[in-house]
Symmetry: C2
Subunit: 209 residues, 2 copies
């Protein structure tokens, strides 16, 4: 078994949380290196692309969150072996990353009126569209899990994203947006949260998902 070290920020959410949950679900041992935000400016220049997460595999540093999620998913038996189901798992993860990038682009807007307008455009445009399309994909895949007929890293990725929309307190993004636009994703959020492995992960860390 490879020696793994996963470095990410010290909070439950964001781009590193999916791999942490996946490895925990699969009982795959890893060093859970959590960086306090205050330490980030000092450590940032030493990361390959000035970003987290970073996974070390036997000392080899690898980046890119969905690449890491996929690798963690394979180790934890949370990634489909069938190529078409793997394609759909990948599509879902990349779609969430896509809309996350669009969302993060509004974080740095300082003018409050501009930010409000940008967030409204986000809600009426990408957030609504991606919620709807991902709900359609879930339904087309049977309604319970996104790929392979059982829980996979795609479910964890959507779970983290929809959870952020509902509980992340994004200014000017109504917290009931998932419930209104994609109610089956809101139910899916509960399904993932109630998965025994996911519950055990949050219980272990004394956190609420």
């Amino acid at each position: 078994m490879a020696k793994l070290k996963l470095t990410y920020f010290d909070f439950h959410g964001g781009r590193g949380e999916v791999a942490r949950i996946a490895l925990s679900l699969g009982d795959v041992p890893f060093e859970d290196d959590r960086i306090p935000f205050a330490e980030w400016p000092r450590r940032k220049p030493a990361t390959p692309f000035h970003a987290l997460p970073v996974l070390e595999v036997n000392g080899l540093r690898v980046t890119q969150s969905n690449a890491i999620n996929r690798y963690a998913g394979k180790l934890a038996d949370l990634y489909p072996s069938d190529p078409l189901q793997a394609l759909i798992c990948d599509e879902v993860m990349d779609a969430v990353e896509d809309v996350t990038v669009k969302t993060v682009a509004t974080f740095s807007i300082e003018n409050e009126e501009e930010k409000k307008a940008a967030r409204k455009a986000l809600v009426d445009g990408p957030l609504r569209l991606y919620l709807q399309r991902l709900e359609e994909r879930l339904v087309q895949q049977g309604g319970e899990w996104f790929a392979g007929g059982r829980i996979s890293v795609a479910d964890l990725k959507v779970f983290a994203w929809v959870g952020h929309l509902k509980y992340g307190k994004l200014d000017h993004v109504p917290v009931d947006l998932p419930d209104r636009v994609a109610p089956k994703l809101a139910v899916h959020l509960d399904r993932v949260r109630d998965h025994p492995g996911v519950k055990a992960y949050y219980a272990k860390h004394g956190a609420t998902p």
Copy 2:
């Protein structure tokens, strides 16, 4: 064999080119649906995420370029089966996508002075950093190919990106940037271009890579 239809814009480059080359290299039959730019506004609303490429697999529409590249890579034997090599292949493809998103963000800047400043920041920041890091990865992987010791979709992805930097005529981005910052990636570009399957692809389409 699944019936495949790949829809993308009618030019050689961008997010759809890698899967086209990969399927051609692997002699995987597919319908090569090329949309003229003039038709895009009419067809855009009917695409799942208002974006291309879209791959149809036996009529099922799937999106996200790197997810499609990975699937095409599996069908064409251009994707590593070893999980760690697959992780590195994925990292490389996602890193290129990452820097592409940062580049595309400067396309819509209308003010010429602002665009010039944004492109300069791009050259001095992400473009330089990603070129350097990807060159380091190539060297660490043996210097010839990015993953698995032979050509993969990661090589095609970097090839399309570095080719765009050198020949895409991006205003305020010096075309010799790859040669200066990451000379081994410039050599890698030639290596991929001279691959018999890649040469055959471009010869068939009467295009220069």
